[in-house]
């Protein structure tokens, strides 16, 4: 299950991407190294989701180079991604996790045990037999996280993981993410929720108009932003 190759560092070298005539990423330069969670913040349309899709290997950039642990092959080895609106397979919660495990190459005799562990980690043990599509939004998000963790990722990409959740569900998701990070998974999280960024992230990358304007440790980012646009963004102004 564990590939010999590492996913890290993830390096974006002058990456550009145009989608439907709009330049979404512009000469983006960023290195994601092992460590505490990295947060990508920025206004809507700044390119965060496109960045995550390329980081996951789901899209190829028009220009520039992306490498994972020095490799250019975009096939996901030990990466996983949590989409803003995760899609539940039309099966039970347990079967969703089992599916992800099998796709990640988990040997058949270990699937059952791992499903139980992962569901317990996501506090979903009681709902194991429930059809996944009947779960609440928060439960689905936790299940999607369990599915992502089933890949035993080294790099976990989260796209607005709590955008539509109430505070209790948000806390539940954040707890799982924090535990994963504590166990050595490198988390990259794109989020609107600056409070969440403060709670989870170790460093912050501020993205505007497809490029990284400022990168800083979380405390510095909020207390001593270097760029005028960052200050404006943190004040709540509209930044483009």
């Amino acid at each position: 299950m564990r590939g010999p190759l590492s996913e890290l560092p993830l390096v974006f070298d002058r990456v550009s991407q145009t989608l439907g005539g709009v330049q979404v990423l512009r000469d983006l330069q960023l290195t994601i190294a092992p460590g505490a969670p990295s947060a990508i913040v920025g206004p809507n349309g700044s390119g965060k989701s496109t960045f995550l899709r390329i980081a996951m290997g789901l899209s190829r950039p028009d220009a520039g180079r992306v490498t994972w642990g020095g490799q250019t092959d975009p096939a996901p080895r030990r990466r996983a991604m949590l989409f803003q609106r995760p899609v539940m397979l039309r099966r039970s919660a347990a079967a969703n996790v089992a599916y992800a495990l099998r796709q990640a190459g988990c040997p058949g005799h270990r699937v059952r045990g791992r499903v139980e562990e992962l569901l317990a980690q996501a506090s979903l043990s009681a709902l194991a037999g429930r059809p996944a599509r009947r779960l609440s939004g928060g439960e689905q998000q936790r299940l999607a996280l369990a599915r992502a963790l089933a890949r035993d990722p080294e790099l976990l990409l989260l796209d607005e993981p709590t955008a539509n959740l109430d505070p209790a569900a948000t806390r539940a998701v954040e707890d799982i993410v924090r535990n994963a990070a504590a166990s050595g998974v490198k988390v990259v999280i794109a989020s609107h929720d600056l409070g969440q960024v403060r709670r989870l992230a170790g460093d912050v990358h501020f993205m505007v108009a497809g490029t990284i304007l400022e990168s800083a440790p979380v405390a510095d980012f909020f207390e001593r932003p270097a760029q005028p646009k960052t200050c404006a963004f943190l004040r709540g102004d509209i930044v483009t």
Binding site: R53, M56, A80, V87, L89, R90, R91, P131, R147, R151
Partner: protein, 230 residues
């Protein structure tokens, strides 16, 4: 079947000839659905999953073939299976196997086209997750067909309905042989030609009731299955 009996009397008295006909009709049409599914389900799924030159033309062709006239299919299979035809040595003409073959050919496009439509929609929904999970192409196909299983019941029912209702193909390749290749529809055609219109109508009503019952059963399976699994 006794001439002069009404269909109702045949049902009530458990007429063996009637039951043999009903049994053969169901056997032939259900087998045709099974055979057509083996080709149509993967074909429809692959068309949803892949992009290649000529894919659009192939989809248009399969959609058009949903309207294949049964007599044309029957005649084609007849010429193939005839002793003078390329597959004549199989000796299948005028047997139930030939009828299954013809009906399977008739409904494969229906199952493939409806499967592609369903699988297309599902794939749009699943694409990112599957790519992120690194799902292999073969597993993608299996997952789409499995997860669309309740919608695909409709595709199979459409195929079954068409097979069970057609007379043109089974008449030509089966020959309407008494107690061997006579189905509900060819029996209805025969009774009509004998001027026995009430019996023909009665058989028609039985056929309709059977198709209704199978649809109701499939509906039940779908409703229960969806509640429990999806």
């Amino acid at each position: 079947m006794q001439d002069g009996s009404t269909a109702w009397e045949l049902v009530v008295s458990g007429d063996p000839a009637l039951y043999a006909i009903v049994q053969l009709s169901l056997f032939v049409s259900l087998s045709a659905v099974a055979v057509a599914s083996l080709v149509g389900l993967p074909l429809g799924g692959l068309l949803a999953l892949t992009r290649f030159p000529g894919r659009g033309a192939l989809i248009v062709m399969i959609n058009a073939f949903m309207g294949l006239p049964p007599v044309v299919v029957g005649l084609t299979v007849y010429l193939l299976l005839s002793r003078s035809g390329p597959l004549g040595s199989w000796g299948l003409l005028f047997t139930p196997a030939a009828m299954v073959f013809a009906q399977a050919l008739l409904i494969t496009p229906i199952i493939a086209a409806l499967t592609r439509q369903t699988a297309d929609d599902l794939w749009n929904e699943y694409r990112d997750e599957m790519n992120a999970m690194g799902v292999t192409p073969a597993a993608r196909l299996a997952t789409l067909l499995y997860d669309a299983r309740f919608s695909l019941i409709t595709a199979l029912l459409a195929g079954f309905g068409r097979a069970a209702a057609e007379v043109g193909a089974v008449m030509i390749v089966g020959g309407n042989i008494d107690n061997f290749t006579r189905t509900m529809t060819t029996a209805i055609a025969l009774e009509t030609s004998k001027g026995n219109l009430p019996l023909a109508m009665g058989l028609g009503a039985i056929l309709l009731a059977l198709i209704l019952a199978i649809n109701a059963a499939a509906w039940g399976v779908r409703a229960i299955g969806e509640r429990q699994a999806a």
